[in-house]
């Protein structure tokens, strides 16, 4: 690797030439580009966790989306007969992998993105899709950070952290809990809800947040936070993290003799929560958007899902299903696969019927109403407790 002077010079010239051609024309290197071809299937990108600890949710989401794709294709597709195709890429809840996945989807010629579960992994996807003029309909990820990006291509159809906090506070006041402890798992999504709920509680003034703390995800022993909670002795603990740690904390709280109530956020709404938490899980509340199980009139949908995938639908199956339907609707409205036109169409949508109710985006491109309800665990399963209406 010893370089002669002459070859160094040669190299410099060569690179300079290359860089200029690349910089000016772009044609030499941009061969792959976005193929917004006028025929053939229309691709929807879905960058979700297929591996890693969030993989089960990824499967629920993929199935929900696939179901919508199949239904739309059976009904004649979009733009007068073109089929939809789902391009699923793994992000494993990791920024680096999600960027790779998003780039891959762009290379494959995706027109709309309908993925996004982990907020931390979804954030770096935004500039990539934005550069390619691809609208992102995000079914699950809902960190306030996503909103703060103020990217014109990001449409969030899950309730935001803010809306979830509002729902939580409404329920807290309704039930008359006087003191609340807020615990997050130090992930982007979780901390977001914690801080948001705390500031809403402080602004509201009727309830007192006696504790607001974080734990480290992935551990087994949470006696430190249990001690803190027992010391603060709140009437309600609101856990804003995921189910793995949520189950442990509920169990350890109950073992320590905690007498108050416990509520969890949507990331903990998973059948495993009750399994891990054991007997203590009974009666735990959850802030959650409607799931098929808790929705009246969704029995047919559940039956279809079961028939197609031989398993029960799970968290974000419905949102993913709606994301695809929304994408199809926007493409039809725009009468084109051009990203900018689809974004316009999405902004104009009013009253599109989804599981969470009729859709109209706020100027921030979030749901005008989060559609959050309160679930409770009864017999090891989440059932509807209060629809907050």
């Amino acid at each position: 690797m010893k370089l002669g002077k002459r070859s160094t010079l040669l190299m410099g010239v060569a690179t300079a030439v290359l860089l200029t051609t690349a910089g000016c024309s772009g044609g030499l290197l941009g061969g792959g580009g976005n193929s917004t071809a006028d025929s053939g299937p229309i691709k929807l990108a879905m960058v979700i966790p297929i591996s890693g600890s969030s993989a089960p949710t990824g499967a629920y989401m993929r199935n929900g989306a696939q179901m919508a794709v199949d239904e739309i294709n059976k009904d004649g597709g979009v733009l007068g007969g073109r089929q939809l195709e789902l391009d699923v890429e793994d992000e494993a809840c990791d920024a680096q992998q999600s960027v790779a996945g998003a780039n891959k989807a762009v290379s494959n010629g995706a027109v709309v993105s309908v993925g996004g579960y982990c907020s931390g992994a979804t954030l770096p996807e935004i500039p990539i899709f934005q550069k390619a003029d691809i609208p992102m309909i995000i079914p699950a990820a809902n960190s306030q950070d996503l909103v703060k990006q103020n990217a014109n291509n990001v449409f969030m159809i899950n309730g935001t952290g803010k809306q979830q906090s509002t729902a939580a506070l409404t329920f807290i006041k309704k039930q008359g809990f006087a003191t609340v402890a807020l615990v997050d798992d130090n992930t982007s999504y979780s901390k977001d809800i914690n801080t948001e709920t705390r500031s809403q509680i402080e602004a509201d003034g009727t309830v007192k947040a006696v504790l607001s703390t974080s734990v480290t995800a992935g551990e087994s022993d949470y006696s430190a936070v249990v001690r803190d909670i027992m010391g603060a002795n709140p009437s309600l603990v609101y856990w804003t993290g995921y189910y793995q740690e949520g189950g442990l904390i509920i169990n350890q709280l109950k073992n320590a003799g905690f007498a108050g109530k416990i509520m969890v956020a949507d990331g903990s709404v998973d059948p495993s929560l009750a399994q891990i938490a054991g007997a203590g899980a009974e009666g735990v509340y959850a802030t959650m958007t409607q799931t098929p199980e808790t929705l009246k009139g969704a029995e047919d949908w559940i039956a279809n899902y079961k028939k197609a995938f031989k398993s029960d639908p799970g968290p974000y199956s419905t949102q993913s299903y709606d994301a695809v339907r929304l994408a199809a609707k926007a493409i039809d409205d725009a009468k084109s696969t051009d990203g900018k036109a689809i974004i316009k169409a999405l902004e104009a949508i009013d009253g599109f019927q989804m599981f969470s109710g009729p859709l109209k985006f706020t100027p921030e491109r979030t749901l005008s109403s989060g559609g959050f309800v309160i679930l409770a665990i009864k017999g090891g399963k989440f059932v509807l407790e209060d629809d907050l209406s």
């Binding site: 703390t213 974080s214 992935g218 022993d221 006696s223 430190a224 350890q252 495993s272």
Partner: protein, 297 residues
């Protein structure tokens, strides 16, 4: 305050059980068995598999079942430890430390992702759960399962101590720790003693894994990573290579950590533990009970 102490002691007894294996192996072949924490994880999953294959167990039998499953798990993880030593470490005896350490990282990876490939990457809920009354002692809330688990841990450690102090294998272990070549000359079957050491150390970690599964209720394939590091820290605090030191170190670390979490907040607990480790290694690398050794040129 007394709650803090009790919580620290309880977690510390887990650390101690795992630290023992670290310390024993290190004492005998100066190998830092990086994969030791993953043996703990393996133990939990073996217990999980055994219990699942047994089917539903009535809650009244849970302690009995737990003990049986623990024995099975100890046997299997012990064997796994022996196999690992045989296949990965023994061929490298006499090789530079760097090579052995890298191998240990490889073993750790293989165990973690091997279990992940077989059992899936998702956390599992442990099939049986120790439930029991909570009572108050000197202001600390103590639950029956905690007492049972600490008793088991104590019995295991006492047995180990007896084994090392009173049996011929134990004496052989200690003599190898002092001078392997001399022990070889004295007619000690060094290989067989090393094998036994790995078996015992791994079995203890496996037992800890089952206990953790039964108490906490959740197991996952990465559960051994952090606790492995903590156990190493415990072993260093007590004086690595020293069995009593490992026990003491485990308890001390549990303690120190509990206080650290109290002062700095739970999310800083690991930072605090590692800072203690670094402090100990730089200021007193021989630990509380270790002896100062002059390295000869």
């Amino acid at each position: 305050m007394s709650q803090l102490i009790w919580d620290g002691l309880f977690v510390g007894s887990f650390y101690a059980l795992i630290a023992l294996g670290y310390s024993m192996v290190y004492g005998i072949i100066k190998l830092l068995n990086f994969a030791h924490g993953d043996i703990y994880m393996l133990g939990a999953f073996v217990g999980f598999a055994a219990l699942t294959s047994l089917g539903g167990i009535p809650a009244s039998l849970s302690i009995g079942a737990l003990l049986v499953v623990m024995l099975v798990s100890m046997l299997l993880t012990g064997t796994a430890g022996v196999l690992i030593e045989r296949l990965a470490y023994r061929p490298l005896r006499g090789a530079p430390r760097l090579a052995v350490l890298i191998t240990a990282v490889g073993v750790s990876f293989s165990l973690e992702y091997g279990v992940s490939a077989i059992a899936g990457p998702n956390p599992r809920a442990f099939p049986i759960r120790l439930e029991g009354n909570v009572f108050s002692l000197l202001g600390a809330r103590i639950s029956l399962p905690q007492i049972i688990l600490m008793l088991i841990a104590a019995v295991l450690m006492i047995l180990l101590n007896f084994y090392v102090q009173k049996t011929s294998t134990g004496r052989a272990m200690r003599s190898i720790a002092l001078d392997r070549n001399a022990s070889l000359l004295m007619g000690i079957n060094v290989n067989s003693v090393i094998t036994r050491t790995f078996f015992i150390g791994s079995a203890l970690a496996g037992a800890a894994g089952v206990m953790a599964g039964a108490y906490y209720g959740k197991i996952d394939f990465l559960m051994g990573f952090i606790i492995g590091l903590k156990a190493f820290t415990a072993a260093v605090i007590g004086g690595i290579g020293n069995i009593k030191g490992a026990m003491l170190g485990g308890l001390v670390l549990g303690f120190v950590e509990a206080f650290g979490a109290e002062w700095f907040g739970g999310q800083w607990r690991d930072v605090f533990a590692f800072a203690v480790l670094i402090l100990f290694l730089t200021l007193r690398p021989t630990g509380i009970l270790g002896e100062r050794v002059t390295e000869r040129v």
